[in-house]
Amino acid sequence: MTMGKFLIRRLLQGIFVIWGVITIMFGLRAVSPGDPATLMLGEGATQELIEHVREQEGLNEPIYVQYFDYLQGMVVGDFGYSWISNREVEAMVIERIPATVELAVAATVVAIVIAIPLGVISATRRNESADYGATLFSLLGISTPNFWLGLMLILILGVWAGIFPTGRRPVGFAEAVMTLVQHGSLYDLGIWLQYITLPALTLGTYFTALITRLTRSGMVDELGKPYVTASRAKGLPSVLVRYKHVLRNTMIPIITVLGLQMGTLLGGAVITETVFNWPGLGLRLIDALNARDWPLMQGIVVFIAIAFVSINIIVDSLYTYLNPQVREE
């Protein structure tokens, strides 16, 4: 199958998945209790006003008409207005994307930078103390809940030691870069880095642990394969055997996991964002949920679905690039 056909098929599958998410969200809203018009207007609105809003928003139409209106809006990128703040949902989602992406990327960087060397050391010094240390670390990392780890980091490194600031960050990455470009000052970037460190560690710990395990077991598997012996037999320097051959092949499944993890991180950093008051999508989702702000909730969930599906397609393409055997099929 050619690359083009492959992409088209994956895209169609992706669209189907997103449609499913949209429909389920609509269904949940339809069956959930509470009158939207009352929610929008708040306590004390007159019956007349409520009726007016119901008419205006199409809430008196039959359910299928509402569904198709809603779907139509989604297709052209109209997600509606927030019931609480009466702002456009797209804008409310888009303004929160940078913080979430920054955190997801930072957590992934933490995971890659720590996990892959650790996994390699662990695999090449099997059953030595370094290996036991790495195994213990990953066991702890996998079994530590995020909210606890986040609180502990804030308490120990933030409050007691005072190394890292706590509270809402004053500056985003884009602004920090602007400062650098306009004033040549690294100051804001430093602040940004200080604020993102603890959330990134918190969010990255689980994945660091996971990828350490994956790297270790994958590499142990690969090291036992005959082509490794054959590469050694032809006199190839051990660095090349280990990294160019073995690690590269180990990376194929790890890339998949990393990609899927990026998808999860984009939407799933709810707990970490809440603990650190991080101005990302997860925090906004929680806010929307608490206020029963359905359009905002739908907008965020659909965005997460789109992000997840796109990342999956990218990962698959990358996988195809790395593994020539898949490329053929």
Binding site: P226, T229, A230, G235, P324
Partner: protein, 427 residues
């Protein structure tokens, strides 16, 4: 020219497993002459491959070479290492086991190279064949460019992790050069792969098994080695392809004059290729000599058994004579100090209960056998009773359960169980 290129003396390679120490190769002696094809033949598990890997320094934990010498004759190399490793050098010979791993690595690809049984798993599936061949060429190219001092040879020029990381951004730091790529294509052509330019850019899974084995031979030849170790080079191939690959090896050997150590369980391959043969059993060579010595004048009952297990067209009506039983486990604590084949040997005698030395067989100057039959005739009167070995191995097994139990205790039990289906233990 009949000088020795390789002398293996008293080589022992052991594996330290959870079940105990496995004596994969025990006190093995081997002498290979320059330019010959030396064959090692034996059943699976007899230690053939371990011998090959010991010579290549490819033994990995839990395996370990525990003793002996592997002496390689190369005057130039001897001079190079003489200053830093005087203990290793003796005239033109260098004892490889006295050298540190990095120096031994520098010999791989350039002095020794190896082809493997299964070409499909012996290539990295995610790199093109051309790239993998080019790596082997590059090993040789860099080795010949190195200065002669061993320290410089093995340390300053070593491709480091830093180089590798840089190579991901700087093409100039890449291990492989354009020249070595071109040489790789020439090598593919040399081993008879059509359209080598296109084929070089293909991945191993796009090759057929035979093609891939040719490519592996090309890869092994990249370093113009003195000794080519071929570990079951044709086992994974179809019969017609086998013949082609053997022809190719033959041709290349004639052209380059390299020495081949051929490991196989296939007597047909041995007969077709080899000048001299060693028959391996339970980690030692039990019979060695010229092809004629071993095939026509063999003394060891094991050699006879091996030859008897081969189907032959002329005597198609004759039933094959398999050797009963299996190769012993080679676990140190289960090996008695006897002839290791005695439990399967149709001619086992009381004399076989002591481990036999190597005897010279009269009538040929290079024919040796580790069997008392070289010195005496088989005598029925001295034969070991049929149940001797099943007896001892049984007690050994029972001793695990109850160390205090003597053989007398075991005896009545055996009477109740006359049928012994343990196969391997029986004669």
């Amino acid at each position: 020219m009949t000088e020795d290129i390789l002398r293996v003396h008293d080589l022992s390679t052991r594996y330290f497993t959870q079940d105990g120490q496995v004596n994969a190769v025990s006190n093995l002696d081997l002498r290979i002459e320059r330019g010959e094809v030396f064959g090692i033949v034996g059943e699976s598990g007899s230690g053939k491959s371990v011998t090959a890997r010991s010579i290549m320094d490819l033994i990995e934990p839990p395996g370990e070479i525990t003793g002996g010498e592997i002496k390689y004759r190369n005057g130039e190399f001897a001079e190079t290492v003489a200053d830093e490793h005087p203990n290793a050098v003796n005239g033109e010979f260098v004892n490889l086991l006295e050298l540190p791993p990095n120096v031994r690595q520098s010999l791989r690809g350039t002095s020794f190279s190896m082809i493997f049984q299964d070409p499909e798993s012996s290539f990295n599936p995610t790199l093109t064949v051309g790239e993998q061949l080019a790596e082997a060429v590059e090993v040789q190219r860099r080795a010949s460019a190195r200065p002669r001092s061993t320290r410089a040879r093995t340390q300053s020029e070593e491709y480091s992790l830093g180089n590798f990381l840089l190579s991901t951004v700087l093409p100039s730091q890449k291990y492989i050069t354009e020249e070595s790529r071109e040489r790789a294509i020439e090598l593919l052509e040399l081993v008879g792969i059509p359209d080598p330019v296109e084929r070089a850019d293909e991945y191993p899974h796009e090759y057929s098994g035979g093609m891939l084995q040719r490519a592996m031979i090309a890869q092994a030849l990249a370093g113009e080695p003195d000794v080519l170790v071929a570990d079951e080079p044709t086992t994974a191939l179809d019969v017609t392809i086998q013949a082609q690959v053997l022809d190719l090896l033959d041709e290349l050997q004639e052209e380059t004059g390299m020495t081949i150590l051929l490991i196989t369980h296939n007597l047909g391959v041995i007969a077709r290729m080899c000048d001299r043969v060693g028959v391996m059993y339970a980690g030692e060579i039990v019979e060695r000599g010229s092809l004629e010595d071993v095939f026509d004048e063999q003394v060891h009952p094991y050699t006879q058994g091996l030859l008897g297990s081969v189907p032959d067209l002329e005597g198609a009506t004759r039933r094959l004579q398999p050797i009963p039983g299996n190769v012993p486990s080679l676990l140190d604590h289960e090996m008695d100090d006897r002839c290791y084949f005695a439990d399967r040997c149709p001619k086992a005698m009381e004399d076989c209960l002591e481990h036999p030395p190597e005897f010279e067989v009269p009538g040929s100057d290079d024919h040796e056998v580790r069997c008392v039959l070289a010195e005496m005739e088989y005598a029925e009167s001295r034969a070991v009773p049929d149940d001797h070995f099943s007896e001892t191995s049984r007690t050994a097994a029972d001793k695990h359960a109850d160390p205090d139990r003597t053989e007398d205790d075991v005896q009545p039990q055996r009477a109740e169980q006359p049928v012994d289906d343990s196969g391997g233990d029986r004669l």
